[in-house]
C-alpha cells in the first residue's frame, strides 16, 4: 500500500513546477561547483607541491650537519589540500595552511643559540582582502541550505493540501491505514527529490572526472558515498519536519509560513547567533599576554643556568644542552597552550551550534571532505607527532656516533657526521577515515535522532488528527 501511495505521489510530483525548478536550480549549482573546483584545485595542488619542494630543498641544504638540523629544524610544514574540497570549503581561506617551525629568537656571543621549536602562525591570512564576503558554493551549502529548503517545499502541502482539497477524507474512506499514507507520502517526496539531486550530483562528478588534473581515489569515492548518505539523512530530516507541520496544520499556506520561518531560524540564524554567544564564553590568551609570558619564562630559565663552574667545561656543555632543549620545550609548550585555548574556543562554539542541523551537516561534510576545522586540528596533531619523530631521529643519530659528546643543542657537543637526506623523516600530512568516523559519530547519531523524533512526531500528529 505504501508503495502505491508513494508511486502516486511521485507521478504527481514529476509533473509539477517545483520538480522542474528544483532540477534546474540543483543542476546549476552543482555544475558551478564542479567548474569552480576544476579551475581552483589544480592551482591549489600546484601551490602545495611547489611549497613542499621548496621546503625539502631547505631541508637538504641543512642535512649536512646534525646541529644545523637541531637549530633550524626541518623547514615549513604544509597542510595537504583535500581532493574533496568541493564538498565542503570549511573556511580554508581563514585557516593557516602551514606550521612554520622556526629557530629561537636569541643567540649568545659565544655561539650558543636557541634551537628549533614549533611555532603556530597567529596572523589571519586574507587580512587585506577587500572583496565582498560570499559563502562558497560547495556541497555543504547546496545541501545544507538549498536542498533543505526544497525538502520543505515538497512536503508543506503533502497532507494539509489533500485535506484542503478534501481528497484525504476520500482516501481514508478506503481501508488504508494512516501510517501507510504518511510513509507513502514520505517516500514519494523522498524519491521525487532524490531524482533531481542524484542527477545533479552525477553531473557534478561526471564533469569532475573528465579532467585528468582532479583525480579521486578509492578512499575519496568512499568518502563521497558517506557524504551522499549524510545528505540523504539530512533531506529525510527536513521532509519529516515538513510532514509534521503539514499534518498538524489545517491550511497549507499556514503550514508553509510556519515551515519557512522555522527554516530561517534553524538554518540561517541559529548557527551564527549561537556561535557568537558561545565564543564569548572563554577568552584565549591575547598576543600581548603571550609575549609577556614568553619573556618571563625565558628570563627565569636564563637565570637558572646563569651560574656555572668554569673549570668543568664538560659539565657546562651538558648544562647548556639542557638549557637550549628546555628553552625550546618551554616555548613550544606556551605556543601549544595558546593554540589549544584558541582551538577550544572554536570547539565550544561549534559544539553548541549542533542544535542546528545545518551546522551538524556542515561539520560532517567538512570531516569527511577533509577540510575545515577538524581537519586543521588533525593537521596540527600530525605536525606535533612529526616534530617528536624528528627529534627522536636527531637524538638517535647522535647516539650512534661514537665520537659525539651527546650534548644535543650545542654545536661542539654533537655529532659532526654528515646526515643522509634519505634517513631524515619527512613530514607527511595524511587523513584517516577511522578518526573521522570517531569524531563524527556524535553528529551522525544526533542527526539520526533528530530524524527519528521528527518522523515519530509526524506519525503521532497524523494518526491522532481529525480529518
Amino acid at each position: 500500500m505504501i508503495w502505491h501511495i508513494a508511486k502516486r505521489e511521485l507521478y504527481e510530483n514529476l509533473n509539477s513546477l517545483r520538480f522542474g525548478l528544483t532540477t534546474l536550480l540543483l543542476l546549476a549549482l552543482m555544475l558551478t561547483n564542479a567548474v569552480v573546483h576544476l579551475r581552483e584545485h589544480p592551482k591549489r595542488m600546484q601551490k602545495y607541491h611547489d611549497a613542499v619542494t621548496a621546503s625539502l630543498n631547505v631541508l637538504r641544504a641543512r642535512a649536512d650537519n646534525l646541529y644545523e638540523l637541531v637549530k633550524r629544524g626541518p623547514g615549513k610544514l604544509y597542510k595537504k589540500p583535500s581532493s574533496l574540497h568541493f564538498c565542503a570549503d570549511g573556511g580554508e581561506a581563514v585557516l593557516p595552511n602551514v606550521v612554520n617551525g622556526g629557530g629561537g629568537n636569541w643567540s649568545w656571543a659565544d655561539g650558543l643559540s636557541s634551537i628549533w621549536r614549533l611555532k603556530y602562525p597567529s596572523v589571519t591570512p586574507n587580512l587585506d582582502n577587500i572583496e565582498p564576503d560570499v559563502t562558497k558554493v560547495d556541497w555543504a551549502f547546496i545541501i545544507g541550505y538549498v536542498l533543505s529548503l526544497v525538502a520543505l517545499l515538497f512536503t508543506f502541502d503533502a497532507i494539509s493540501g489533500e485535506r484542503e482539497r478534501g481528497t484525504l477524507r476520500l482516501m481514508l474512506a478506503n481501508a488504508i491505514p494512516r501510517h501507510a499514507v504518511l510513509f507513502g507520502k514520505f517516500f514519494g517526496a523522498l524519491v521525487s527529490m532524490l531524482i533531481p539531486f542524484t542527477i545533479a550530483v552525477l553531473m557534478n562528478l561526471l564533469v569532475l572526472s573528465t579532467s585528468r588534473s582532479v583525480q579521486l581515489d578509492a578512499d575519496a569515492w568512499g568518502r563521497l558515498g558517506i557524504i551522499f548518505g549524510i545528505a540523504l539523512l539530512y533531506t529525510c530530516l527536513f521532509l519529516a519536519l515538513g510532514l509534521l507541520v503539514s499534518a498538524r496544520v489545517q491550511r497549507s499556506a499556514v503550514s508553509l509560513v510556519i515551515l519557512l520561518l522555522t527554516w530561517v531560524t534553524l538554518v540561517v540564524f541559529t548557527p551564527n547567533t549561537l556561535a557568537s554567544i558561545a565564543s564569548g564564553f572563554s577568552s584565549p590568551m591575547s598576543a600581548d599576554e603571550f609575549r609577556k609570558r614568553v619573556a618571563q619564562t625565558e628570563g627565569a630559565l636564563r637565570m637558572k643556568y646563569a651560574t656555572y663552574d668554569e673549570n668543568q667545561p664538560q659539565k657546562r656543555r651538558r648544562e647548556l644542552a639542557a638549557y637550549v632543549t628546555e628553552d625550546a620545550q618551554q616555548n613550544e609548550r606556551l605556543n601549544q597552550e595558546r593554540l589549544s585555548q584558541q582551538l577550544a574556543q572554536i570547539q565550544e562554539a561549534r559544539s553548541i551550534t549542533r542544535i542546528s542541523p545545518v551546522a551538524m551537516v556542515q561539520n560532517l561534510f567538512e570531516a569527511f571532505a577533509g577540510t575545515g576545522f577538524e581537519r586543521h586540528t588533525q593537521f596540527l596533531e600530525n605536525v606535533r607527532s612529526y616534530a617528536r619523530q624528528f627529534r627522536e631521529f636527531v637524538t638517535e643519530t647522535d647516539r650512534h656516533d661514537a665520537k659525539s659528546r651527546h650534548a644535543v643543542g650545542v654545536r661542539e657537543g654533537m655529532s659532526q657526521k654528515e646526515v643522509a637526506m634519505e634517513a631524515i623523516p619527512k613530514f607527511r600530512d595524511e587523513l584517516s577515515l577511522n578518526r573521522d568516523f570517531n569524531t563524527t559519530a556524535m553528529d551522525m547519531l544526533l542527526l539520526a535522532l533528530f530524524f527519528i523524533v521528527l518522523m515519530s512526531g509526524a506519525y503521532l500528529a497524523f494518526v491522532r488528527v481529525e480529518i
Partner: protein, 504 residues
C-alpha cells in the same frame, strides 16, 4: 473609494496568521541578535581601548624618534553601527604604523593582537542580514496570493463589478501590504534601538540616528521590491499554489543562490598584470632616483666614503636599509631602521655627520614616499579596488545585493568607509612629520640615539578619527536606494500593464 479599499485590505492582512508569525519571528531574531551583537561590539571596543592604551604607553616609553618596530601606531575604532551591517569592519586590518617611508594604507594594516584569529571561521551576522532574509521572505508570503488568491476565490471578479479602477485595486493592495510589512520592521527596530541606547558602551550621535533612518529607508525600498516581485508573480499565475512555488524559488534564487554563485561562476581575471608591473616599475624608478640623490649627498659630504653609518660600529644597536616590493599589494618601499643605544667615545666625532645626513635624508624620504603614494594610489584603484567594486556591482543584480550595499554605505562599514580611516591616517602622517620637522627631530641626536637626551612626545598632536558626516554616507548610499525604488516603480508599472490587460 481608495481609502475603503485600503482599509479592507489592511484588515485582511492584519488578521492573518502570517502577520503574527512575521511579527513574532522578527522580534525574536532581532532582539536576540541585538543583544549578542552589542556584547560583541563591547568586546571589540574594549580590545580597541586596550590597544590604544598599549600603543600610547609604548610611545611614551620610547626614547628615540625614529619609527622602528613601534613608533606612532594608529588603531581603527570599531563602528557602533556595524551592528546593522558588519561589512568589512571586522575583517580588515585595524592597526597601522606611521612611517616616513610610506603612506599608510589598509593593505599594510595589521590586526591588533587581542582576538583569536580562528574566530573568523565562525560567520557573524548583523541586523541588516536578518532584514535582508526575513523581510524579503515575508514580503513574498504577503504577496503571492494578493491577486491569484482573489482570482481563485472569485472575489476579484466581484470587486471589479463595482466601478473601481484596476489601478486603484493594485494601489490599495500595495499600500496596505507595505503598511503591514512595515509594522514588524519598525517594532523590531524600536526594540533594537532601546537595547542599543541602554548599552553603556554605545553612544549614538544625532548623525547616527539619521544613518539608522537611512537604513530604514533602504529597508522599505527593499521590502517594496520584493513585495512587487511577489505581486508580479501573483498577477501572472492563476493558481495560488503555483504562485507560491514560483515565489519561493525566486526568493531562493535571489537571496540564497545568486549572491553566492555569481562570483564563483564569473571568472574574474587576476589583477591586471601590465598595470601592476608598470606601476611597480615607476615606483622603483622613483626610489632609484632617491637612491641616487642620497649617494650624491654622501659623496659630497665631508666624510670620506659613502658609508651611511659614517663608520660608526657599535654592538649596542642596529641599522638596516632594504628595498621591499610586494607585487600583490603594489608595495614598494625602503624599510630603514637605525637604532643606537649608545655610541663609543671614539666614534663621537662622526655623529654630527650622521645627524646632518638625516636632516637631508628623512625629508627626502617623506617627499619620495609622497610621490610613490600618488602612483600607488592610482594603481591600487585601477587594479584591486576596481576588481572588488566590479564584483560588488555583479552582486547588485540581485535586490539583496543592492540592499546589502546600501546598508553598508549607511553604516560606513563599506570599503569607502574603511578607506576614510586610512585617509585620516595619511593626513595624520603629514601632521606628525610636520611636527617632527618643526622640532628639527630628523637631525636631532634622539632620532636614532638614546644615550643622552630622551625623545619628548608630550606635544605630539593626538589622532582622533571621526567617521565622515552623514551627508557623505547619504551620497554613497542613495544611488543604491534609488536603484531599489526605480526597480519598484518599474515592477509596479509592469504589474499594472499586465493586470489591466488580463482577463479576470
Amino acid at each position: 473609494m481608495l481609502p475603503t479599499l485600503i482599509r479592507r485590505e489592511l484588515l485582511d492582512n492584519l488578521m492573518t496568521f502570517r502577520f503574527a508569525a512575521a511579527l513574532f519571528i522578527m522580534l525574536l531574531l532581532v532582539v536576540a541578535n541585538t543583544a549578542v551583537l552589542i556584547k560583541d561590539y563591547e568586546r571589540r571596543l574594549a580590545d580597541y581601548n586596550t590597544a590604544v592604551k598599549k600603543h600610547q604607553q609604548k610611545l611614551q616609553e620610547r626614547d628615540i624618534y625614529s619609527p622602528g618596530f613601534a613608533g606612532v601606531v594608529l588603531v581603527r575604532p570599531p563602528n557602533p553601527l556595524s551592528i546593522f551591517n558588519v561589512g568589512l569592519d571586522k575583517r580588515l586590518g585595524s592597526e597601522i604604523g606611521i612611517r616616513p617611508s610610506g603612506a599608510p594604507t589598509l593593505w599594510e594594516a595589521r590586526m591588533h593582537g587581542s582576538a583569536n584569529p580562528l574566530l573568523n571561521l565562525l560567520s557573524s551576522i548583523a541586523l541588516g542580514f536578518i532584514f535582508e532574509v526575513v523581510l524579503s521572505l515575508m514580503a513574498l508570503i504577503f504577496a503571492y496570493d494578493a491577486l491569484a488568491g482573489e482570482r481563485e476565490r472569485g472575489t476579484l471578479r466581484l470587486v471589479l463589478t463595482n466601478a473601481i479602477s484596476r489601478g486603484h485595486i493594485l494601489l490599495a493592495k500595495y499600500i496596505s501590504a507595505m503598511t503591514c510589512l512595515l509594522v514588524p520592521l519598525i517594532i523590531s527596530l524600536l526594540f533594537a534601538l532601546i537595547l542599543l541606547t541602554n548599552s553603556a558602551a554605545i553612544s549614538l550621535s544625532a548623525d547616527d540616528f539619521l544613518r539608522i533612518g537611512g537604513i530604514v529607508l533602504a529597508s522599505i525600498a527593499y521590502l517594496s521590491v520584493f513585495y512587487l516581485i511577489g505581486f508580479l508573480i501573483s498577477a501572472i499565475t492563476h493558481r495560488t499554489s503555483t504562485a507560491l512555488m514560483l515565489a519561493m524559488f525566486v526568493w531562493g534564487f535571489l537571496v540564497l543562490v545568486y549572491p553566492n554563485m555569481i562570483l564563483a561562476t564569473i571568472k574574474t581575471s587576476d589583477v591586471p598584470q601590465e598595470r601592476a608591473v608598470s606601476a611597480l616599475n615607476q615606483m622603483k624608478q622613483i626610489w632609484e632616483q632617491f637612491d641616487r640623490e642620497r649617494n650624491r649627498f654622501l659623496a659630497a659630504d665631508a666624510f670620506p666614503g659613502e658609508d651611511q653609518l659614517f663608520n660608526i660600529k657599535e654592538p649596542w644597536g642596529f641599522g638596516y636599509d632594504e628595498y621591499y616590493e610586494n607585487a600583490l599589494t603594489l608595495f614598494a618601499e625602503y624599510d630603514r631602521q637605525l637604532n643606537f643605544q649608545g655610541i663609543d667615545e671614539k666614534y663621537q666625532p662622526n655623529v654630527p655627520h650622521l645627524q646632518n645626513y638625516h636632516r637631508f635624508l628623512i625629508p627626502l624620504t617623506i617627499r619620495t614616499a609622497d610621490r610613490v603614494w600618488l602612483i600607488r594610489k592610482e594603481a591600487l584603484v585601477d587594479t584591486l579596488v576596481r576588481q572588488a567594486n566590479f564584483k560588488r556591482t555583479l552582486l547588485k543584480l540581485s535586490p539583496a545585493g543592492i540592499y546589502d550595499a546600501a546598508t553598508q554605505a549607511w553604516t560606513g562599514t563599506d570599503l569607502s568607509g574603511i578607506r576614510d580611516f586610512f585617509d585620516a591616517a595619511r593626513q595624520y602622517r603629514k601632521t606628525v612629520m610636520t611636527w617632527f620637522d618643526d622640532k628639527d627631530a630628523f637631525a636631532a641626536r634622539e632620532w636614532f640615539l638614546s644615550d643622552k637626551r630622551e625623545a619628548d612626545w608630550s606635544t605630539l598632536p593626538l589622532f582622533s578619527f571621526e567617521r565622515r558626516s552623514v551627508e557623505i554616507n547619504a551620497k554613497r548610499a542613495l544611488p543604491d536606494v534609488l536603484l531599489l525604488l526605480m526597480t519598484s516603480l518599474v515592477l509596479f508599472m509592469g504589474i499594472f500593464l499586465l493586470f489591466v490587460r488580463s482577463e479576470v
